[in-house]
């Protein structure tokens, strides 16, 4: 039973990496939001499963927060922001899909190598979960780096945070207080980003970061 339990944990963590790749692949904003909702859903399932095998009831609350906020509330809110901002177009990419996927594979390989070497004496099951979590973090960063659209950068930031939560739950014993405070700070950050997006849009009629870069001011 122990083998099956940890297999399912690995499966869910690996599924999170798979959905991160799927996020890199999307080229339409609505589809990206749906994939992000699936990402958060998988995170909630993974945290719930960890709660089951670690017998830690507070992780169930973490899972519920992930499900409620990140899988349902935030995608819906972002959806409405997109409708009000009027961006229905494709996501402009800095790097094409092919090279982005190749970079993603490189990042996964890097995180596997780093994690499996650095934590050589730890519990072998937790090490692999940590390696997957680091991959999700790096893939979230990659998404932020290779996208021009502000909304897709927000989604990348959210998936990065999902990876951090996965890492924290994998290493046993993350107290509930930390999780609640992290969740609230994310919520505050999100509200602030949303306000800023509206202000930027009002002022400049665009949220394309590349275009906005021109208005940055004096350049030496």
């Amino acid at each position: 039973m122990r083998g099956l339990a940890f297999d399912i944990a690995h499966l869910l963590a690996g599924g999170l990496v798979l959905v991160s790749f799927l996020q890199l692949y999307q080229d339409r904003l609505y589809a990206l939001l749906n994939v992000f909702a699936v990402h958060a859903l998988l995170l909630a399932l993974s945290v719930a499963w960890q709660a089951h095998i670690q017998d830690a009831w507070h992780l169930y609350i973490t899972a519920a927060i992930a499900l409620g906020f990140k899988a349902i509330a935030i995608p819906l809110a972002l959806h409405r922001i997109i409708v009000r901002l009027g961006i229905h177009r494709e996501i402009e990419k800095v790097v094409g899909v092919g090279p982005a996927m190749l970079l993603g594979i490189g990042l996964v390989a890097l995180s596997m190598v780093v994690m499996l070497r650095v934590t050589a004496e730890a519990d072998p099951i937790a090490r692999e979960d940590l390696a997957f979590a680091l991959s999700v973090v790096l893939l979230g960063l990659l998404m932020m780096v290779t996208r021009r659209n502000a909304v897709s950068q927000v989604v990348g930031f959210m998936s990065l945070e999902n990876g951090l939560v996965l890492a924290a739950t994998g290493a046993k014993g993350m107290p509930l207080v930390v999780e609640i405070s992290i969740a609230f700070s994310i919520l505050i950050a999100f509200i602030v980003i949303g306000i800023f997006l509206f202000r930027i849009r009002e002022r400049f009629d665009s949220v394309d970061m590349q275009a906005l870069d021109r208005y940055r001011g004096e350049r030496q």
């Binding site: 083998g3 099956l4 297999d7 399912i8 690995h10 499966l11 963590a13 690996g14 599924g15 990496v17 798979l18 790749f21 692949y25 899909v97 092919g98 996927m101 190749l102 993603g104 594979i105 996964v108 390989a109 596997m112 190598v113 499996l116 072998p124 099951i125 692999e128």
Partner: protein
């Protein structure tokens, strides 16, 4: 006595696969029609089509060569041999050791090579479109398939399909991440290789949306019947492959009593039906991609296969 029995089982496999293939195509079309709220043609319609086409004269272009006439038989033979080696109702078939999964994929590659040549033979631009797009799709689908084979071989410890299927039946396999990634990649590759939506439309007659249909545009009569049968066989092969590797329950293993094989055949047909139904639902739910989105689709499958193989290289428990 055992040799004759084994030979009979292998022969039964070859015949079964040949007889079931048009029914699978008919089932997919029927389910699609029902989802679209139509009646659709009867499930035995592909058999009737084959019979009708076989009796007709074959009309060839004036400058079609001997190769054009021979290619339908070559592709049919290669695909039939490959399909006969995929375990459907029983593992450990008599000739399963002649070709492992890599050889089966290469046999399908041979079939595709000759079909692409057939597209170029008559010297029309439609054939050229079909052949050039087909080899572009193949140039990404085949490496993706090979990476999936690598992953499965590294998990099961062998490239023989019978051994892989028996390993998947054993309790030691577990739920592995690399298997999940390999399954997703295999489904993507199977859709591309069988010319299904979203990669290619098997029912289209618009040249800009054709890949497989464009290559075989000049064929008629018995040649076209053989090519349609080959396409159905290839679909059956891929659905059986996915079933044998990822849903192997119900197959008769070596050493099982002879009755188990009959039961295995029934269960295998049920699996094919389920697979066909799922395919029909999937095809109705998505739209066809632009041609130059297909390399990104297959590139993603290749990356998933590479990631799955990489995970197996890096850690034995993944």
């Amino acid at each position: 006595m055992a040799v004759i029995f084994d030979l009979a089982v292998q022969g039964a496999q070859m015949l079964l696969v040949l007889l079931v293939a048009p029914a699978l195509t008919g089932l997919v079309r029927k389910v699609k029609a029902h989802v679209l709220r139509r009646q659709g043609p009867p499930i035995i319609q592909p058999y009737l089509d084959l019979a009708r086409l076989m009796r007709k004269d074959a009309v060839l272009a004036e400058n079609a060569s001997w190769l054009f006439r021979v290619i339908p038989y070559i592709t049919f033979a290669a695909t039939w041999v490959a399909a006969a080696l995929v375990p459907t109702f029983a593992t450990g078939l008599m000739f399963s050791w002649t070709a492992d999964l890599i050889a089966i994929i290469a046999l399908l590659g041979s079939a595709r090579f000759f079909l692409a040549l057939a597209g170029l033979d008559v010297g029309t631009s439609f054939g050229g479109i079909g052949s050039s797009r087909e080899v572009m799709i193949a140039s990404l689908a085949e490496p993706a398939m090979l990476m999936i084979v690598f992953t499965l071989a590294l998990i099961a410890g062998s490239t023989q399909l019978s051994t892989m299927a028996e390993y998947m039946l054993s309790p030691g396999v577990g739920l592995r991440v690399s298997l999940a990634l390999a399954l997703v990649a295999l489904v993507m590759v199977a859709i591309a290789e069988n010319a299904r939506i979203p990669v290619d439309n098997p029912a289209t007659h618009l040249e800009l949306t054709m890949v497989h249909e464009a290559m075989v545009l000049e064929y008629s009569g018995r040649h076209l019947a053989l090519i349609d049968l080959t396409a159905s066989l290839k679909l059956t092969l891929y659905v059986s492959l996915i079933a044998c590797l990822f849903a192997p329950w119900g197959m008769a293993t070596t050493g099982a009593p002879p009755r188990a094989r009959a039961g295995g055949a029934v269960r295998d047909n049920a699996k094919l039906a389920v697979g066909g139904g799922l395919l029909a639902l999937f095809e109705t739910a998505v739209a066809k991609m632009r041609v130059f989105r297909v390399p990104e689709f297959l590139g993603a499958a290749l990356m998933l296969g590479l990631l799955a193989a990489l995970l197996r290289f890096v850690s034995q428990s993944l």
